[in-house]
């Protein structure tokens, strides 16, 4: 089943073509790596998928329904978008991890929270810590948990490990892989790290100046091109 379908997407901003004739489908549970040079339109594609922008032409279907037919709120709770720079709001970690429950009107589930914290090797008492007391890696792990608590069906990761060391990168990758196994979450992630793409991606979409340069199995891409597309 195709959970996501992009047909002939074109995005023009300030008379400049950002994305041109982008068509691809994503099946439920897929893991799609998105690579390409800076300015090739990777983040713009994610902004389209999260309804933060609308395509100039073409259509995007989520569960066979045009994205525009969903309310932004409804859609963003199904398609989670996590940015490169983790932003924790308020004062404490707890405020951030309570936010998803506030939005859904549910009672906070501390068993669920603690299980996530344990997976990414964070102590339970981190909840009381101030955001400013956290390292970059800790902040990114908390930001990721905050998004996962919404229970999105699709996760869009925009270079979330770009500024992190190897240890933190692997912890985040493990959490994402676990989420996929556990909840059959569909993953689309932007990366400049070929090793990461090899570890996580089943399929790869390579963008070049707003157009598709490659779309297919990740293994074939790296077999043909090697690792020089980092």
């Amino acid at each position: 089943m195709n959970i996501l379908e992009c047909s002939s997407i074109q995005l023009i901003k300030n008379e400049q073509t950002i994305l041109n004739n982008i068509s691809f489908t994503v099946k439920k549970g897929d893991s799609v790596g998105i690579m390409g040079p800076s300015g090739s339109g990777k983040s713009s594609l994610f902004r389209l998928l999260n309804l933060l922008m609308s395509p100039s032409t073409g259509e995007i279907l989520y569960r066979d329904k045009n994205l525009q037919e969903y309310t932004p709120t409804q859609l963003r709770r199904s398609i989670g978008y996590i940015l490169q720079k983790p932003y924790l709001f308020g004062t404490t970690v707890q405020e951030n991890l309570m936010y998803p429950y506030q939005l859904s009107g549910k009672k906070p589930d501390f068993t669920e929270i603690n299980s996530y914290l344990e997976q990414v090797k964070l102590a339970k008492n981190i909840l009381e810590k101030k955001n400013t007391a956290l390292s970059g890696g800790e902040q990114q792990r908390i930001a990721l948990i905050r998004s996962l608590l919404i229970r999105p069906e699709i996760i869009l990761l925009d270079e979330v490990t770009a500024a992190l060391d190897e240890e933190n990168t692997l912890l985040i990758e493990e959490l994402i892989a676990h989420e996929q196994r556990q909840h059959n979450v569909t993953l689309l992630f932007i990366t400049h790290n070929a090793q990461q793409a090899k570890r996580l991606a089943q399929r790869l979409l390579y963008l070049e100046a707003g157009s598709i340069g490659y779309l297919g199995p990740a293994s074939d891409f790296f077999k043909d091109k090697g690792d020089h597309h980092e």
């Binding site: 963003r76 932003y87 709001f89 308020g90």
Partner: protein, 198 residues
Amino acid sequence: MSNLSLALTFSLVLIALGLSYKEKLGLEKDMLIGSLRAVVQLTFIGFILKFVFNLDNIIFTSLILIIMVYNASTVAAKRGAGIEQALLISFASILSGLVITLGGLLAFGAITYQPSQVIPISGMVVGNSMVATSLLFKTLLNHFQTKREEVEVKLCLGATSKEASRSLIRDSIKTAMLPTFDSMKTLGIVQLPGIKGG
């Protein structure tokens, strides 16, 4: 007060202008325009108020109130440059504040709809509302620039635009109300003797 005393009093504005210029505050234009407007308004308002008070006509009194609200709205709306329909928003806010306050005072029998009673009270209400609205616009614009990431992250988490900006709006309202609360705290010791003296 002699004309010389009046002219010398204006030197206080010159001192403020000099300080603004020296400290590069960039307030000279606002200060000059503000002072000139105050002088012109005070000169004319004396004649107009005397005329309206003597006339004691409901329509004329109401017209004066509408002019006051509109004037205050244009000043407040300038602080909200960039906000859609800033003038309409400030006009509606200041007018509703005035209607509720004045309506309450009239309904409770605290005042009667006479120009000598309604106009001074409206002046205070409209003045306070204008300061609060100006400050609210300025703080909102500032918050939406400096806390843009917070709003974006909350939107990405599926919050509605109202939910995503709730804390910013709350903070802005608190800041906008500060001058009013400070005035209330010093009403008996600072504000009232000042008003009465004036």
